[in-house]
């Protein structure tokens, strides 16, 4: 027993428990540095959304005073909120890092993306444009801000997730991932998707934004916006998603919990116009982030899994 208590004493001297945010941040920095160390030509996907804004701060902490060992890239559906696109460009310029933008509209012009109908959402077609950009630049790794708490299929995805030449994820045949020994090896044409904030929840993200005082596009905060109510949810009225005949357009105080393609991202009713208020709301919300705001995940129980198998992030 004397030996045991001595060991305990030593433990208290050599260890300083990290707060949960410090631990998550340190893990994410470690992951980004592994990408830089193991991959020849990685890229970081930056959409101007809150998760990828956190990723940029983590990249700063991982690599400053040096430059990022990867460019930033956005796959633009052409249906994004102007506030977010402006923010994206400004943030990349402030950081002095290179931003690559590739557009779903270019893939449509090339004929590699064909919509079923003019008003079909372009969101799922981002996969095609992403794969084209990966081939164009020869990227061997794409770093993204996806989180395991977002969705059931993501809960089972590795932090370093292998994709074959077609960008496909095979959930039944994933590489074992042990300790923090990540395997980013791939052959030419194949690709590794890397998710440094896999272990973060929506709540962690908001707490991190508050702690780091990160600036966000204005539409994350409560604002007045014309919407229509359909199928129990709210849809924003925009040039891309106009009101249909018979719709009642109302102006409501709303904010976005996620931002993405306009056609599939819905706002929630809210008066939260500061981070502190958003955190308070997030803590007491009764609806999951994707459940509330992602129209594309509600089609079926397995819709995300299906899209990921097809190469979606």
């Amino acid at each position: 027993m004397a030996l045991e208590s001595l060991k305990m004493l030593k433990t208290t001297i050599t260890r300083q428990a990290l707060t949960h945010l410090d631990w998550l941040e340190s893990e994410a920095i470690h992951i980004m540095r592994e990408v830089a160390g193991q991959c020849a030509n990685p890229v970081l996907l930056f959409s101007g959304g809150k998760d990828s804004i956190c990723m940029l701060r983590i990249a700063e902490k991982a690599f400053r005073p040096g430059k990022f060992p990867f460019p930033l890239m956005h796959i633009d559906t052409g249906h994004n909120y102007k506030e977010v696109i402006d923010f994206r460009d400004r943030r990349a310029a402030e950081l002095g890092e290179r931003l690559i933008v590739r557009s779903v509209e270019d893939s449509m012009a090339r004929g590699t993306v064909v919509l079923n109908s003019d008003d079909e959402s372009r969101n799922k077609h981002q996969s095609v444009t992403l794969l084209e950009a990966i081939a164009e630049f020869g990227f061997d790794a794409c770093i993204g801000g996806a989180r395991r708490d977002e969705e059931k299929a993501r809960a089972k995805e590795r932090i370093f997730s292998f994709r074959d030449e077609f960008g496909q994820w095979d959930p039944k045949n994933q590489r074992p991932e042990l300790w923090d020994l990540y395997n980013a090896r791939s052959f030419k044409g194949e690709n590794i998707r890397v998710f440094p904030i896999s272990n973060w929840t929506e709540f962690d993200v908001w707490q991190y934004i508050e702690r780091e005082r990160l600036e966000l596009p204005s539409i994350y905060y409560a604002h007045s916006r014309p919407v229509v109510r359909r199928q129990g949810g709210m849809l924003p009225v925009t040039a891309v998603t106009p009101a249909r005949p018979g719709d009642t357009v109302e102006t409501v105080r709303v904010r976005f919990r996620t931002v993405g393609d306009i056609t599939c991202t819905a706002p929630v009713e809210s008066d939260a116009d500061t981070i502190a208020k958003i955190i308070a709301e997030t803590a007491t919300t009764t609806i999951t982030e994707r459940g509330a705001t992602r129209l594309d995940d509600q089609t079926s129980d397995a819709s995300m899994e299906q899209r990921k198998k097809e190469g979606y992030f």
């Binding site: 060991k7 305990m8 030593k10 433990t11 050599t14 260890r15 300083q16 428990a17 990290l18 707060t19 949960h20 945010l21 410090d22 631990w23 941040e25 340190s26 920095i29 470690h30 540095r33 592994e34 830089a36 160390g37 902490k61 991982a62 690599f63 400053r64 005073p65 040096g66 430059k67 060992p69 395991r148 708490d149 059931k152 299929a153 809960a155 089972k156 959930p171 039944k172 590489r175 074992p176 991932e177 042990l178 300790w179 923090d180 020994l181 395997n183 090896r185 052959f187 929840t201 709540f203 707490q207 803590a283 007491t284 009764t286 609806i287 459940g291 509330a292 129980d301 397995a302 899994e305």
Partner: protein
């Protein structure tokens, strides 16, 4: 434990734990219960599983549906892969690694265990200690999880009998002693009713010990209970050489994570493999300087002397050197469908370092059902064996039992780039 309490108070850090057992033991129900009682499950998710429960003709909500992840799993009614779940109690964040309990999935359990600080082993009170229990306990012990909790579940189905609980506890301790397992806690439980998970319930009042959540809140969130040497594998070297900023001209930052121990400015350090010595000039996180850094912090180290250091090198405190070796004895878990071929060369990844390696010999294969040692010529998926390996490059190791970070390695097959093995150095 209402959601509103989740706002202030954090921070008792983060605890990663593993649940072992099959669906029959009520593992999914237990995880569902933890998520449900900690208000992590939100209304839309609850509605979705309510609908599914009804579709399957169940009267109550089946909490186990929460952990059914993939379409393929729902079709087959089994769990295929490790899933990660998250919840918070207001003071601590938890990451659950949910590992399937089927026999053929040893590799998944080892994977899930490799990052866990604590393991919950579920026993069905009606069945007692089974082969599966022994297997799970052995694996948790092999991967050196510091804390073990044995949850004796479905107590409601044995009339909440204290005698049954004590008999199982005594059976378990018998074989645990043979394995060398020391730190075990036992909890009687009914995950279905929620007794002794978050709330105490009323049926098990003879039990005076902590509930599961009380145990989780109190467990030390560290990977180790004993002092470890400072180990800093270099991940990346930062040399900005920014022409606009002459101050940075000579900047050489060695980036990595403190895998164990602690370091302070002024400490004498040795760089491996060169053996050159220097002192710590500065410890940086982002643009801030710190006087010292501890295990698990990602930092940048600056040294007094200009030394050529690259990824794969390790910085340690002088006087606390690890073993520098080209030959290791290890327990190896084979993870791949293609068996270990003794004639082939493989790649080893140990910390941030890689080396070619080949098998020098198999000591024995472990029968994880009987704990018997068997002779073996080759290893198939899910086999665990004591092996000797010869390496082309030296690696800097500590025994896994003393240091998880410098005692662990993975084996990669260069012909497929797959991770095919996981090793723990003896």
């Amino acid at each position: 434990m209402s959601a509103i309490e989740n706002i202030p108070g954090m921070d008792n850090g983060l605890l990663r734990f593993l649940t072992c057992g099959s669906v029959d033991d009520g593992k999914s129900t237990l995880i569902g219960r933890l998520l449900f009682d900690s208000k992590t499950i939100l209304v839309d998710t609850l509605h979705a599983i309510e609908r599914t429960s009804k579709k399957r003709g169940l009267e109550a909500i089946d909490l186990s549906l929460l952990t059914d992840g993939l379409q393929a799993e729902r079709e087959q009614g089994i769990t295929i892969d490790v899933a990660y779940r998250y919840f918070t109690t207001g003071t601590r964040k938890y990451i659950i690694a949910d590992a399937p309990g089927h026999e053929q999935y040893t590799r998944n359990m080892v994977t899930a265990a490799s990052t866990a600080d604590l393991a919950i082993i579920l026993i069905d009170a009606r069945k007692g200690v089974l082969t599966q229990t022994r297997r799970h306990s052995y694996l948790a012990h092999l991967v050196n999880i510091p804390h073990l909790v044995v949850a004796i579940n479905k107590m409601d189905l044995v009339d909440c009998s204290q005698t049954v609980f004590e008999q199982i506890m005594s059976d378990y301790l018998d074989f645990a002693a043979k394995l060398g397992i020391e730190d075990v806690h036992f909890i009687p439980m009914s995950a279905l009713n929620g007794d002794m998970v978050v709330d105490r319930g009323e049926r098990l009042d003879w039990y005076q010990g902590p509930t599961l959540i009380e145990l989780l809140e109190a467990a030390s969130a560290s990977h180790t209970e004993h002092a470890e040497g400072f180990r800093f594998p270099v991940q990346y070297v930062c040399r900005p050489q920014d022409s606009a900023n002459p101050d940075l001209h000579d900047y050489r930052g060695f980036m990595g994570r403190v895998e164990s121990g602690a370091v302070a400015v002024g400490d004498a350090v040795t760089i491996l493999p060169s053996g050159r010595e220097s002192r710590v000039k500065d410890i940086q996180v982002s643009n801030q300087s710190l006087p010292r850094a501890y295990a698990e912090q990602s930092i940048t180290l600056l040294l007094d002397d200009e030394i050529d250091i690259s990824r794969g090198d390790m910085i340690v405190k002088s006087g606390e050197l690890p073993n520098i070796t080209k030959q290791v004895d290890a327990m190896l878990c084979w993870l791949s469908e293609s068996p270990l071929d003794p004639r082939r060369k493989y790649l080893i990844r140990h910390t941030t370092r890689e080396s070619k390696a080949m098998l020098a010999g198999i000591g024995f294969r472990m029968d994880i059902n009987t704990m018997a040692h068997q002779a073996a010529e080759k290893l198939a998926m899910n086999d665990i064996a004591r092996v000797s390996l010869k390496l082309a490059q030296p690696i800097f190791v500590d025994p896994y039992a003393d240091n998880r970070a410098t005692g662990a390695f993975i084996v990669i097959d260069e012909s497929s780039n797959n991770t095919v093995g996981a090793g723990m150095i003896l």
